[in-house]
Every structure is written in structure tokens, then in C-alpha cells.
């Protein structure tokens, strides 16, 4: 047995006692539980405001889904959905990845990251109407579902025309279910603590039901660790898959000639980037305004700040890898794409986004004093989130504008194409050299300009972002924001020793 060999090789060698005493473990439980039970007036004030905004957003949502005239009017709506998926769905990775890598600094913030999985419910509400807005394969658009038959020089799809709808729904649903399962399994020991040690009340009642009879036996701990590892890995794979679908089926396929094999990876990376920024901002709010200031320390900001810097640099590299091939290759259809998405109507939006997502994080976070602070990485997190939102608007609104033009041509003729151009254009994957001339081909007076949001769009955006905050805040009433069992586990591996003339911490890393 490997463990016996390991035990034997350390036999007789001096060792250090960790801080894992019963007293310390109880101190952790009592403290987090006591802090968890507190709710300030400010909390309820913010919850009320966000709740009202959410209600208004829901009204706007119903108004919007019944007034989708053509896919072009869905640009901001899809941008919001994409932004929510990019931030809230990416946030749990901050708990999953460092847990797999055994990084101890993640312990106080892993729950903060995991609770964001609940926002999947809001994402699902946003996603459902998109099934009706997304054109089926009849309008000639490309899909990841391959075309197999060629008729009259055109490739005709043989797959079910709603394939993208089916698979995208399954992926989005899968991600939400996995996320909630992950959160639940992670919460089991903490629910048991609330059940056994918490004061009587609704929390105790709910925790008792949700703890599923957790007693902390060895087999239960082993079960929990294995499930969390497996679900974490599956969640990551599903996250990549969802962004694969969203980025392709809901964006790329609407713009003829947009063939960017890196795009799904870019989207998955943006999800990690946005997720880290979301958790960073949540940490900052918890640190400044919440009761857990003592747990969310500089160490967590430093650890996550390095990740934020690395992801900002990666953002540039991914963007440049695509841009370089399009820009340097000078292929006419790709030049048209650059004209539409980067240099054209959305130039200023792109420049601001570039500044917020890459330039500012890069030039500030490389400085140690800035990175090793609480304010620095938090400001950058806001910068990244705003930049990411602009990026979603730029890409989604532009793509859905083109989709709107081609779909309107289709609808106006009761399912028949009067001109073959839109269908042919989609099938041949060619955008005209200047994207503004699309309107001339389809005979519609719709210029490709930067489209501003309508009042309803603003309401929906504000309402649903507030709704995410509201739901998160409500969840923290039941679920402790700082993971009790992970904090207690830290005591197992943590010891302070004297090292020459100073004191240092030693951390054990279990196999």
C-alpha cells in the first residue's frame, strides 16, 4: 500500500501540530454561523431596490418577447443573455479550478463563486424566447450540423431544421442543472451545521431538508469529494460546450462568411474572464459591506488578481490571433467582416472595450502595489465587466442586425424567397465586400449602423441584472457566503512555524 510506505518514510521525523483542534473548529463554525444569521438594514434596502427593478424588467421582458418584429430587434436582448452567461455561468469556475489544483487561498471565496450558479434560472428565462427568435435552418444559414446533399450547386441540409435549437437547449439546461447540483453538494455539510447548531427558525427547517441526512461519516465525505470533483470537471466541459453553441448558433451563423474557428474558444475564455471579474467584484462588496470582512482578505484578492491579469493578457492574444488572420490575409469577405465588427459602425465601442478589457488591466495589474491591494483588482473587475458587456453588445447587435435583414426578406414572401440573394449569400458564406451594401442586395432600407438600445431594452437589461443581484442576495439568506467546511478543512493543513528569525505558514497538500 502506497500510504503505508509514505507513513513509514516519515517515521521518527519531527512534525508540526496543525491548528486543527476541536476548539478552533468550533470557533470557525460558531463564527461563520453567527455572521450568517445577521442581516443589516442596508441589505434589505438594496434587496428592495433590485427586486423592484427586477419586477420592471420582467414587464419589459414580456413586452419585448411579444414585439420581436424580426431577429434584428433581438440584438440587445441576446447581448444581455450572452453577458449573463459569460459572467454568472463562468463565476463557479473560480471555485472549481483552484479546488482541483488544491489552492488553499480559494477556500473563503469558493461559496461566493458557487452561488452564482443559481443565476442559471434567470439565464434560462432569458433563453426560452430565443428559441423562437433563432431562425431555423430554412433561411439558408450555416450550422454546426453539417449539410450533406448538394442540389443545384447549393448544399441542402438533411438534418432536422431545428437541430441547433434542440442541442442548444440541452446544453443550457445541462449547465444549469450541473451548476445547481454542484452548489447543493458543496452546501451539504454546511446545511448540516445549520441544522444541528443554528437557532430555530425557517433556516433550520430548510437546512434540515436540504442537508439530505448528512452526518459527516467517512463515506459521506468521500462521496461528497468525488462528486464535487466529477461535477466540477463536467461543469467546465459543459460551460465550454454552451459557449460553443451560443457563440456559433446565436451569433456567427447570422453573418455570411464569418468563419472563425477560434471564436468558441474566445467565448469560453470570455466566460472565465467575466466569471473571475464577477467573483472579484462580489468579494469586494462582501469585504467592504458584508459581515465576512475577516475571511475575505488580501490573500484572496492577490490570488484572483493574478488570474484576472493572466486572463486579460489571454483575451488580447485570442482576439489578436483572429484579427491577425483576417486583417493580414486581406481576403475580401474577411475584410468585410473586420469592417462590420471592428472598424465599422462599432469602432468606438470596440475601442472602449479594448481599453477596458485589455489596456487598463494590463497597465495597472502588472504593478505589484496595485495588484496586491483590495481596491486595485476590484476596480479592474468593474472595468472588465463593463468592457465585456460592450463586447457582447458589439458582437450580438451587429450579427442580429444582419440576421434581421435576411430573415425579413424571408418572412415577407410567405416562406418563399423572391430574390435568391440572402439564401445564396448565407449558403455561399460570402459577405459583400462592404457590409453596408447588404441593404442594396435585399432591397431594404436598413443601413448597417450602430444600433442604440430602445427603452424596453434598457429596462430588460437593468431589470435582469438587478434580478441576478436580487436572487443572489436572497440565496445568501439560506446559504452561508463563506464555506464552513472548507474553512474548517483549512485548519487541518495549516500550521505556523518559526523559520530562522521569522514566522511562516506551512501548508499540507493531501494526495
Amino acid at each position: 500500500m502506497a500510504t503505508d510506505i509514505i507513513d513509514e518514510q516519515y517515521l521518527g521525523q519531527p512534525f508540526v501540530e496543525t491548528e486543527n483542534s476541536v476548539k478552533n473548529r468550533k470557533a470557525v463554525s460558531d463564527n461563520i454561523l453567527a455572521l450568517h444569521m445577521r442581516t443589516s438594514d442596508r441589505f434589505w434596502q438594496i434587496a428592495t431596490v433590485t427586486g423592484i427593478l427586477f419586477a420592471i424588467g420582467i414587464v419589459g421582458y414580456f413586452y419585448r418577447i411579444f414585439t420581436f418584429e424580426n431577429p434584428g430587434s433581438a440584438g440587445y436582448y441576446v447581448a444581455l443573455f450572452s453577458f449573463m452567461m459569460t459572467t454568472s455561468a463562468g463565476a463557479p469556475m473560480v471555485a472549481i479550478a483552484p479546488r482541483i489544483a488544491n489552492a488553499h487561498w480559494r477556500r473563503p471565496i469558493s461559496r461566493i463563486a458557487e452561488i452564482w450558479t443559481l443565476i442559471g434560472c434567470i439565464n434560462l428565462i432569458l433563453f426560452i424566447p430565443l428559441l423562437w427568435v433563432l431562425p431555423n435552418l430554412d433561411n439558408g444559414r450555416r450550422s454546426l450540423w453539417f449539410y450533406w446533399e448538394k442540389q443545384d450547386n447549393l448544399w441542402i441540409p438533411e438534418v432536422v431544421k431545428y437541430s441547433p435549437h434542440i442541442w442548444s437547449t440541452m446544453a443550457v439546461l445541462g449547465l444549469i442543472v450541473l451548476g445547481i447540483a454542484l452548489l447543493w453538494i458543496s452546501c451539504l455539510p454546511d446545511f448540516a451545521v445549520i441544522r444541528d447548531q443554528g437557532p430555530d427558525g425557517w433556516r433550520k427547517k430548510w437546512a434540515s431538508k436540504l442537508s439530505l441526512g448528512w452526518r459527516g461519516t467517512t463515506s459521506q465525505w468521500n462521496w461528497q469529494h468525488h462528486r464535487m470533483g466529477a461535477l466540477g470537471a463536467l461543469y467546465f466541459m459543459m460551460l465550454v460546450l454552451v459557449h460553443f453553441f451560443i457563440s456559433v448558433e446565436y451569433l456567427m451563423v447570422h453573418v455570411p462568411g464569418w468563419i472563425d474557428s477560434l471564436y468558441p474558444i474566445t467565448h469560453a475564455h470570455n466566460a472565465l474572464h467575466g466569471g473571475v471579474a464577477t467573483v472579484m467584484l462580489t468579494m469586494f462588496i462582501v469585504n467592504r459591506f458584508g459581515p465576512f470582512k475577516g475571511y475575505i482578505t488580501l490573500d484572496q484578492f492577490h490570488g484572483l488578481g493574478k488570474l484576472l491579469l493572466a486572463l486579460s493578457l489571454l483575451w488580447f492574444w485570442f482576439w489578436f490571433s483572429s484579427f491577425m488572420v483576417f486583417w493580414y490575409g486581406k481576403k475580401p469577405s474577411e475584410q468585410a467582416l473586420v469592417e462590420l465588427l471592428v472598424k465599422g459602425p462599432y469602432l468606438y465601442m470596440f475601442l472602449v472595450e479594448f481599453l477596458l478589457v485589455f489596456i487598463i488591466p494590463w497597465w495597472t495589474m502588472i504593478w505589484n502595489p496595485f495588484r496586491r491591494s483590495i481596491w486595485g483588482p476590484s476596480i479592474i473587475a468593474i472595468s472588465v465587466l463593463v468592457g465585456t458587456f460592450l463586447d457582447r453588445i458589439r458582437l450580438n447587435v451587429a450579427s442580429w442586425d444582419v440576421a434581421g435583414i435576411t430573415a425579413r426578406k424571408f418572412n415577407e414572401n410567405n416562406g418563399e424567397f423572391t430574390s435568391d440573394f440572402p439564401r445564396e449569400m448565407m449558403l455561399n458564406m460570402r459577405l459583400p465586400e462592404n457590409p453596408t451594401v447588404i441593404k442594396e442586395f435585399v432591397g431594404l432600407d436598413i443601413p448597417i449602423n450602430a444600433v442604440g438600445p430602445g427603452a424596453i431594452d434598457v429596462l430588460v437589461i437593468l431589470g435582469f441584472i438587478s434580478g441576478a443581484i436580487f436572487l443572489y442576495m436572497m440565496a445568501t439568506r439560506l446559504i452561508p457566503l463563506v464555506n464552513i467546511w472548507e474553512q474548517k478543512e483549512l485548519l487541518l493543513y495549516n500550521a505556523e512555524i518559526k523559520f530562522h528569525r521569522t514566522k511562516v505558514r506551512v501548508m499540507g497538500k493531501p494526495r
Binding site: F15, W155, Y263, I265, W317, V325, G329, R505
Partner: protein, 479 residues
Amino acid sequence: MQEHTQLTQKQINDELLKDILHLPKWWLPAVLFLLTIVLAGYSAFGYMIYHGLGVTGLNRPVFWGFFIANFVFWIGISHAGIMISAILRLTQAEWRRPITRAAEVMTVFSLAAALHTPMMHVGRPWRVLYWIFPYDFSRDIWPNVRSPFVWDPSAVGTYLIASTLFVMICLLPDLAILRDRAKNPLVKKIYAQFALGFRGTPRQWKLQIIAGILLSALVLPVFVSVHSIVSWDFAVLIGVEGWRSTIFAPYFIIGAIHSGVSAVAMLMALTVWIYGLQNYIKPDHFDAIARLLIIVATTWFFFFFLEWVWALYTLETPEVALRELQAEQWPYGPLFGIFIITSFVIPVPIWLFKRFRRNAVIMFWTCVLVNIGMWLERFLIVIPGLLRRSHMTFDWGSYHPSIIEIAIVVETFAFVALGMLLFAKVFPLVPLFDVKEGMINRHLIKIGRRVIPATIREGLPHHYYKNHSDPIIERSKEE
């Protein structure tokens, strides 16, 4: 890392320097054997210069053959050094310590091997000078800096300089030990020159550590840029549709890391077998690198899948024709099968089992398979890409590598092996100071009835914790 042998500093010095200060019996025959292959390769090169590029299998339209595939392969291998050394150093992965030096040195030699293949490929290597100087002084004609072929030598050259500096900085403390332990006055003097007066004062250590961390961080963008640029040699071409893919830069880099880290795992096994360093490189190290390889290989496979999906998604005739050529037609179809099987299908399932991950022999052979597959991957990108039939091409030939090309490719492998052997004779292949630091940082902690190894937590300086100590621990101490 659970397995550990606590050694004294003297033991470490004795064990790691024994093959440097004494000559092992096997060393000379091995060097002579490799030298013979290298000389045979250079003779083939001389023959090629004398007779011209016609002695190779290159022809229209396949103007890039074995040489360029081999160039991309060695650039890929060179990524291992930085991957293992810089990234693992910055992320404070403890298991990196005994293997960093070998990985860094492999980077330097594989870059040298990579650099000389395109020089041979151009047929007249002295023309390399034209990349630097105006080739017509009177008319002041400079090389075209917009050409990817000027970016290549610039990027690879920068990477080579940065990697050499990195090796040099990390070598300083070990060179000082060699200087102090060498008996021969001449040898002592040479080591003293290289050691740059390193005495191990606190200031020197501080500078050495800061330089190492800075170089790790600075070399990372170079590491990324090198293979990105190599990929853009292909991707920015309009003429070859199969190469025109935005994913090429990340795909090349992840492929490079896949082959490079596999090469490091091979090197680890060889180091244990040849130099008997099982006290330093343990099954836990193989386990750690294999787990890293599972992630890298899976990511690489996903990128490969995306590249194929997008090629088929375009439905453009040349793209589809190229994929058919790569996967279905003789002889590329069988090679394609071997490539997939060796680089992913066989190794990754094997690495999923802990028993196999901890076995040096299995790790060595699976990593050999990976590198066979990854060499074939480069071959299958280069040759079928050029071979596909396009209009306006008036002459078609197939491509069969000549014996000259094969000799030169084999020479590059012997060159890297010879370089590593010569380096290991003069400098320690396992960094003494890094291993010693690991020993000092290591402690044991007791958890329940178990005693497990623990490491001093590197990270923020201690004074940062003065104001940010753990509130719970503080509170319980007060109580």
C-alpha cells in the same frame, strides 16, 4: 507531493555532481555514437549544398517538406522548458524542482535544432545574412519586415536568447558549487568565470531569485509569440485554404505544449535510468506530469476537433478535398490514423490510471508515442496542405522524402541528444539549489494519526499578513 527523501546538502552535492566531476564509462561511446550521426547529417547537408535542393524530395507544389515539418516539431518541443520552468515556477508547483533544468536545457538545444532546419531548407544558408543586412547596399534594399519569414527568425532568436539567459541565471548558484569543488585549477578557473563571482550572499540570492521570476514572466510572452508566429507562417496564406484558420496560433501552442511536456517526461525517465537519480525524481513526479499531460492532451484534442469542424463547416471544395486527402488517401490516411492513435487515443486512457502514471517505463513509452504522433501531425499539416490540387498549378508531383532529408532530420534528434549529454557532463542536469530549497521548505505536519508533508507557503511577503492574519485563529488564540 507525498513521496520525499530528506537529504543533507552534502549528499545532494555528492549525488548530483558525481557524473560531472568524474567520467562515467558509458559516456564516451554514447557521445561518439551521437557525434557520428550528427556528422552524417552534416555530410548529407554538404552533399545537398554541392548538388542543390534537387537531391531532396521537394518539388512543385510541395516546396515545404520534411525540413519545415521538423522545424515546427522542434519549436514545439522547445516550449516544454518554459512551460515546466516558468509557468510552474510562477504557480509555485513544488514538483517542478528537480526537472526544471533539464526542461530549460532541452529548450535551448531544440531551438538550435529548429533554427538550423530552415537554414538547410533554403538551400543556401549564407543567405540568412540577407534577413539581417540590406542585400543590395547600393540601393538600400532591406528584407521585407511584413513577411512572416522575417518574424520567424526574430521570434525564435529572441526566444533562444531569453531561454539561454534563463538557464544561465538559474545555473549561477550551482556553478559556484562546481567552482568550489573542482580540483583541476583550469576547470576551477573556467567555472569561476561562469559563476560571475556568486558567493551566496543574501543580496546575490535576492537578485538571483528576482531575476529568475522576472525572466519567467518576461519569457512567457515570447513563448506565446514564437509558436503563434510559426503558425501564422501558415495561417495568413490565402493560397492554401487548409492552413487558413484563426485557431492555428492557439492550436499550435497547445500542440507544442503537448509534445514538449511529453518530451520532458521522457527526459525524466532517462535521467532516472542513466544517472540513477531516483532520490530526486520519484513516481510522484511522473504522476504530477502525467496529470498535467491529461489536461494538455485533452485541450489539444478539443482544438484539433474545432479545427476540423470549421474546415468542414465552410463546405468549400478545396477545404473538403484537403481533409479527404489528409484522412482518406494513401499514404496520408494511414499516417493520419497513426497520428490520432499515438498522440491521443493510446496515451490518454493509459494516463487515467494512477498505477500507470507512476510507472516510469510506461510514461516513457507513452510519451514516445505522443511525440511520434505530434511529428506526424506537423507532417500532415505541411505536405497535404501543399499537395492539394488547385487551379493555376501547372505541374504536380507527389512528395517522397529523400535519404538526404531523412539523414538531416535524424541529425537534429542526435544533435539535441548530444547537446544534452555534453551539457550534463559539464553542468548538473538537476538544479542543486532548487532541490535544496525544496528540502528546506519542507516540513511535516500531523493530521489526526497521519503525518504528511507540508511546504512553506510562498506568496505574499510575511509582513502582508501582519495586518491580515486569520481572524478565527487569532480569536481562538486569545480565548
